[in-house]
């Protein structure tokens, strides 16, 4: 049987990066349990527009959980109360009839609010630019499988690469630390032969950039891996620590 709920959405509104923000409450009736969270916000925006007001700004793109563009801190959890999904994959059946749903932007000094629920996550791009790549000669295309890679390493690298860079780890971390993101991006390359060559320089450059951009120090609370929509493990953080320390001690 289809679930239909009436809800109150308590949402953060902020005109610009420097403007003072505040919460605004909207009643929304007749929402189907099959509606995704972002579709619910679309319906709410239609309602707001029809009242002649400014719609709520929020980030979204693919709406199928792979682009990492959607954010939203819903009822105390980044990407809402469900596990291993992004906000776009969250459905309204997870909420009760008559519930007040609090929707906030990611909060972290390194992620300033642009408008309403949108935050500036360019800090992540800057970390990738600092070393999250392999320098390759773009000659002829090599044969696939020309370099043997063990199944274990391939799987582990693939798990690390599942990080979509959404920033949920930073949003939930009590220290505003980006270690889960950085460690996943370091691991996905360092585990493979092509990435091993620059592994030391990469770990040093990306950690230096992360520190420079004002992210906090990891204290191993594991909040990041609990909230990560892709289930990226803190074993990546241990690997980053290991790589960074060996790189520094071998200097």
């Amino acid at each position: 049987m289809e679930k239909i709920i009436n809800i109150t959405v308590k949402v953060w509104r902020q005109k610009g990066p420097k403007a003072k923000g505040g919460f605004e409450s909207h009643k929304l009736n007749g929402i189907s349990g099959d509606t995704s969270f972002l579709e619910m916000l679309d319906i709410l925006n239609e309602q707001i527009v029809s009242e002649g007001k400014e719609p709520i700004a929020f980030d979204n793109d693919c709406r199928e959980g792979i682009c990492g563009m959607c954010s939203l801190y819903v009822n105390g959890h980044p990407h809402g109360p469900d596990n291993l999904i992004t906000t776009c994959q969250l459905h309204m059946r997870h909420f009760k009839d008559g519930e007040t749903i609090t929707v906030e932007p990611w909060r972290s000094a390194a992620f300033p609010v642009i408008r309403d629920l949108m935050v500036d996550r360019q800090a992540f791009d800057k970390i990738i630019q600092a070393g999250g790549y392999t320098s390759v000669n773009t000659g002829g295309v090599p044969d696939a499988n020309a370099i043997p890679i063990s199944k274990i390493d391939a799987d582990e690298a693939m798990d690390s690469a599942s990080c979509i860079g959404c920033g949920a780890c930073v949003a939930t971390c009590k220290n505003g630390s980006a270690m889960l993101f950085v460690s996943a991006k370091v691991s996905q390359l360092a585990l493979l032969p092509q990435g091993k060559i620059e592994a030391k320089a990469r770990a040093k450059a990306m950690v230096a950039k992360m520190d420079e951009l004002g992210f906090g120090n990891c204290t191993n609370t594991r909040a990041c891996e609990m909230e990560c929509p892709k289930g990226v493990s803190i074993s990546n953080i241990a690997r980053l620590n290991r790589q960074f320390l060996t790189a520094k001690f071998s200097d």
């Binding site: 909060r107 120090n217 803190i234 290991r242």
Partner: protein, 221 residues
């Protein structure tokens, strides 16, 4: 070596190494305490040896250095982390089911420091400090001090609460130290977590034996 102070992982390494040093000290201290249950003479012999001798003073200074480094870095890291978190707080709070100890390491640390001050006042001041400065009433045989103190149940209670804070601090601290050193992964995480609980419990029980034993003993006297 500038990176040790200049990078987040470097600062964490200092926390990790100083933490492991303090854990090793706790294991030594707990073992030393246990001798009192079996023999007052043996305990007093150890106290005598750790009085105002050059090696005991050197050891005390190194130990104090370990505490200062661990506390100073904890404060520095906590301040940096609060700054990174930003001034805007979540209205719906943080509902992530993280472990309580993991989130409250600094607060637990403050409780431990408070307990440490009481402990230094109870023992170290009356023993090594007074002996060093040739003050009146320096005690070289510690057994009397211990037995007197724990014949007051309120002190046993304070010490047991202190030990509880240390237990929580260590359950997170032990595996966390290894994680920072890079010695962790999918296979090692459950093992290290188990080792953390075992180490924390051994230390707590070993320390708790003396106050509990002498409180009960005083009640039957």
């Amino acid at each position: 070596m500038y990176w040790l102070f200049n990078s987040s992982i470097g600062r964490k390494l200092i926390m990790s190494i100083s933490g492991i040093f303090l854990i090793l000290f706790l294991l030594f201290h707990a073992t030393m305490n246990l001798t009192l249950v079996f023999s007052t003479e043996a305990y007093d012999w150890i106290c005598e040896m750790l009085g105002a001798n050059w090696y005991a003073i050197a050891g005390t200074l190194v130990l104090a250095g370990g505490f200062v480094v661990h506390i100073a870095y904890a404060t520095w890291l906590t301040l940096q982390n609060q700054k990174a978190r930003g001034t805007a707080k979540y209205a719906s709070a943080n509902q992530t089911k993280t472990e309580w100890a993991a989130k409250n390491m600094y607060v637990l640390g403050l409780i431990i420091v408070l307990g440490l001050l009481i402990h230094l006042w109870n023992f170290w001041y009356n023993m090594q400090f007074k002996e060093l400065l040739h003050l009146k009433g320096a005690v070289s045989a510690g057994s009397g001090l211990v037995i007197d103190l724990f014949s007051q149940p309120i002190y046993s209670l304070i010490y047991l609460l202190w030990l509880a804070a240390i237990w929580f601090h260590l359950t997170h601290g032990v595996w966390s130290a290894f994680q920072t050193l890079g010695w962790n992964g999918r296979t090692w995480y459950p093992r290290l977590k188990f080792i953390s609980n075992v180490v924390a419990t051994i230390i707590m029980v070993a320390f708790a034996v003396v106050p509990v034993f002498f409180t009960i003993k005083s009640l039957f006297n």
